[in-house]
């Protein structure tokens, strides 16, 4: 019904740009709507103002007059090429950031694996030490027991134990006890390092997600992701049901 004259439209666009309310996108939208608006919104003075705001590094002087200049649309195409160049730069920087994060994650994972290996080795070491220690303690007990009177049957057995042992018992026990202490210390150290490294890995993974975040893409993958995780949950539930004999833990639930 009511039509705004050109002059008022120019004022809308000018104020919109000056108050940073409009972006290049809005101007393009307006340009697409009809002939008259295309003419008005493509005008040079508008786009050179936008250029000045968005890409100020070119040391341009702010456009002073609000005169609609000739229909060359020079400023608009200049804006477009600056924008595209900028977008390429942003895209490349984004890619680099993603790659950096991914290599950090790989590094953390590698360290984690190394720690886990060493932890396993040390644990095995500890088990062997404990086992040897317990044997040697038996020998020590036996040799102590031999010093008092005992039934011949038992005595015989104890003599056997003592004779079978080829190493100097006391010193070996002492050494093993020190070894055990060391193992335990090492294991504690590894466990702590593992915990820290895991934390660092998780942080890096979260940061990667944040860097990769794209509102539109993630909306569709989120719904698929939900489907995935709910499928997983259902699977876990069905696996847990036969609780009667849990062979992996070697115990029986009554």
């Amino acid at each position: 019904m009511s039509i705004l004259p050109d002059e008022l439209w120019r004022r809308v666009l000018e104020l919109g740009i000056r108050s940073r309310c409009f972006t290049y996108k809005d101007l393009c939208c307006i340009s697409i709507s009809c002939r008259r608006l295309r003419r008005i919104s493509d005008e040079d003075w508008l786009w050179s103002r936008l250029l000045f705001f968005d890409f100020p590094s070119d040391n341009r002087d702010p456009p002073s007059s609000s005169f609609p200049s000739s229909s060359l649309n020079r400023s608009k195409s200049l804006y477009k090429s600056r924008y595209e160049r900028d977008r390429e730069r942003k895209f490349a920087a984004h890619k680099r950031a993603v790659l950096r994060k991914e290599s950090q994650i790989a590094e953390h994972s590698r360290k984690l694996r190394g720690l886990e290996t060493r932890l396993a080795e040390e644990t095995d070491n500890m088990r062997a030490t404990i086992s040897e220690l317990s044997n040697l303690r038996k020998v020590r007990e036996a040799s102590v027991a031999l010093k008092v009177w005992q039934p011949e049957v038992i005595r015989g057995r104890q003599k056997q134990i003592v004779e079978q042992c080829v190493v100097p018992v006391e010193s070996r026990i002492h050494a093993l006890e020190m070894e055990l202490k060391l193992c335990k210390q090492q294991i504690l150290g590894f466990e702590k390092a593992l915990k820290d490294e895991k934390q660092r890995l998780n942080i890096a993974k979260e940061e990667l997600l944040a860097v990769k975040y794209h509102p539109l893409r993630d909306y569709t993958s989120l719904s698929a992701g939900d489907h995935e995780s709910s499928k997983k949950k259902r699977k876990q539930r069905t696996e847990k049901i036969p609780l009667g004999q849990d062979s992996s833990s070697g115990s029986l639930f009554i």
Partner: protein, 187 residues
């Protein structure tokens, strides 16, 4: 017929007996407007000042303005003058100045919220005709706010614009402007 609601409002605001002027709208509305408010309409101001007329209770016809718009204009200008006075009174006191500013912003937000798109456009035309600079800027800024970040369809519908491009032209224009809408960026 006179819009009694507006009249009593306008008269209640100016308790002192200020001079008033009678304005007639295109659709037969009659408004008694206080002089300070009326002088915000530069079209009236120049009418009185240039011609050196005496400000008497003559009746002025406003051919391009309707009742509804004029009452809104009067409402805005009256409040704007009030805020102006409050601001001046609060000068120097930062807290009071801030309060006045917030009050004004609240009023303006509510004022413009109640306007339909159609009403907003009509008001702009009326205010443009009456030549009220401050209100015009305010309305124009509101329009800009309403169409920012919207689709082409919305802009067309908002301004009752017809797409007068031929299909080929439309193709060409879409291509020309496509760069602005490629959504790869993470702003």
């Amino acid at each position: 017929m006179a819009d009694d609601g507006v009249n009593t409002k306008v008269e209640a605001v100016s308790k002192a007996t200020t001079e008033t002027i009678e304005l007639r709208t295109e659709d037969g509305g009659v408004f008694d407007v206080d002089k300070p408010v009326a002088m915000e309409f530069l079209i009236l101001k120049s009418f009185y000042e240039d011609e050196g007329r005496v400000f008497d209770k003559t009746s002025i016809r406003l051919p391009n303005v309707k009742q509804l718009e004029l009452s809104k204009v009067i409402e805005y200008c009256t409040r704007a003058l009030e805020f102006g006075a409050k601001s001046a009174a609060a000068a120097g006191d930062k807290d009071a100045e801030r309060m006045v500013r917030q009050e004004r912003e609240g009023f303006e937000a509510e004022f413009v919220d109640e306007l339909s798109n159609e009403m907003l456009k009509e008001l702009i035309l009326a205010v443009n005709f009456l030549d009220i600079k401050e209100m015009l800027d305010f309305l124009i800024r509101s329009v800009a706010n309403r169409i920012r970040n919207r689709s082409v369809a919305y802009v067309r519908q908002f301004f009752d614009i017809e797409n007068d491009f031929t299909p080929q032209e439309e193709d060409q224009i879409h291509q020309e402007n496509a760069w602005a809408f490629e959504g790869v960026d993470a702003d």
